[in-house]
Assembly symmetry: C2
Homo-oligomer: 327 residues x 2
Amino acid sequence: MNENRIVQLLKSRYSRRSVSIKKGIGDDAAVIRPRGASEYLLITSDMLLEGVDFRVEWTTPLQLGQKAIAVNLSDLAAMGARPRAFTVSLAVTRGISERWIRDFYDGLTDPKHSMGAHLIGGDLSSSRGGISISVTALGESLERKVLYRHGGRAGDIVYVTGVLGRSAAGLKLLQKSIVHPRTEPQRAALRSHLSPLPRCEAGLWLAQSGFVRCMMDLSDGLSADLPRMCAASGVGAEIDEAHIPVLDESRGWGFNPLQLALHGGEDYELLFAVSKRKADLFEKVYPSNLPRVTRVGRLISDASKILMISESGRRFRLLDQGFDHFR
Amino acid sequence: MNENRIVQLLKSRYSRRSVSIKKGIGDDAAVIRPRGASEYLLITSDMLLEGVDFRVEWTTPLQLGQKAIAVNLSDLAAMGARPRAFTVSLAVTRGISERWIRDFYDGLTDPKHSMGAHLIGGDLSSSRGGISISVTALGESLERKVLYRHGGRAGDIVYVTGVLGRSAAGLKLLQKSIVHPRTEPQRAALRSHLSPLPRCEAGLWLAQSGFVRCMMDLSDGLSADLPRMCAASGVGAEIDEAHIPVLDESRGWGFNPLQLALHGGEDYELLFAVSKRKADLFEKVYPSNLPRVTRVGRLISDASKILMISESGRRFRLLDQGFDHFR
């Protein structure tokens, strides 16, 4: 049993057609069209669980709130939606202080991370286990331009935003008990892990630009997420090892930057494809004030292959070693 | 610290005005109006946690799914909305079987409990603690007729649907290890507790009827929920002990029916108020095929008083002894 298999099972069993539901299970967010509405409404839910997704020794309640909203907005960003509102279900152990709860909600509603989405409700419960957080975020399309995981075609150029593996490097620093690093690159890695910023502006621009064929966010690592986008698009992919924007500094911290970039997860960057014909123009017009985009490979017609091309030109299978809750 | 206090805190800190948000924190569901939409969209989130809200020894995964969707739809019913779609965040311990997961989702999507709402997405995670379930349900208004907790006025007649205390009686039977009762009333009590049916049809009728001034669902017990409706409406209330529709049979099981009805919680019945002038007519036209409604008291102008009038005519304060996660 693994996550992809369960999602596939749910998708096949519970996909119902309905005029108002444009996209149900299986993408970064569901897409519905309320009666008479001029725009689509996008809905996504994401959980953070103590001991699985975070440790209270490593994060402040403020950061935890910032991360809980950011990981949800990342799913909206991946489809080009504008964040509008969210609910949060929070279960905490009985002894928790009012201060902790206030700090957590301050994090959730921090404009830098919540990007204008309003907290509109939720649920609050005591927990016998650890802290459990589930956020549901609602977004709105702009001119109904929404990007899905499907839509990519063989030959398309594959891009990612930002740097991959920084969040995983942050996690590894914490695991080495480096909780208060002295250098800025290490602090940035911790920030990436503890309170990531969703790529909402980039996602919106990419969806509006007309250049992008398919998109998703990178939450479980390139090696886990790229196969999902490829499966939805019915294609394979080739990735150029040398082109992956890794976090070079992390080598000096004793880590393998490439491994972190491929399998680390939680980068909340965007993964997308642009038709080859338009790729140069796309790169030319892409705004310089948005997170940089990097060409990392291309989609190929053989849907069974997710390949990596090493610097020496050797091709090998990119095995999914990304994060899976059930592996 | 208690739940009401935390919700009050959140409401005062995070209530933001926005043209599209008609109602944020503080009612059974949030109400938004998507751009151009002809109807309101209602959103509610509710959690069920192992060890707090359920025990795996007492419930099947099918029942657990049925309950998880029902408790959410009850919030939509309380505002008169029609269930449309929902997401579910599910965290389960690693060893869980695919069968368990399938049964749970079959319960969630069971038409009798999900009332036509479509499963459109969610999140799936492993858990170090117990099972954690958070559902977010979306509903749609009909002709924009939505009922809130506010709107009640002194003099209004207070009603409830169904019987109160049946779910709590079911829980008490389970606590006495009566897991397979032999009599139908006991089986019905277990069903009420393990797989309640949301009062969607009644809620929709009540909202459409024009008779109802304010409404909410009874999830934490009359003694906890009535003060919430009163606070929102700026009134107090008097309840006639003799009129509360208790589960008489439960006396024979060794329980106190009145205590269960007042403080038991999880009945998921509806609590609402109708102007005194229209109460007789309302009772005359209320459809006989919907769960019965019972007059239990009236709203009074003194907002500081939630009173109970005993059969002998004595008045005393109805103390909130309903379920509170933080008490």
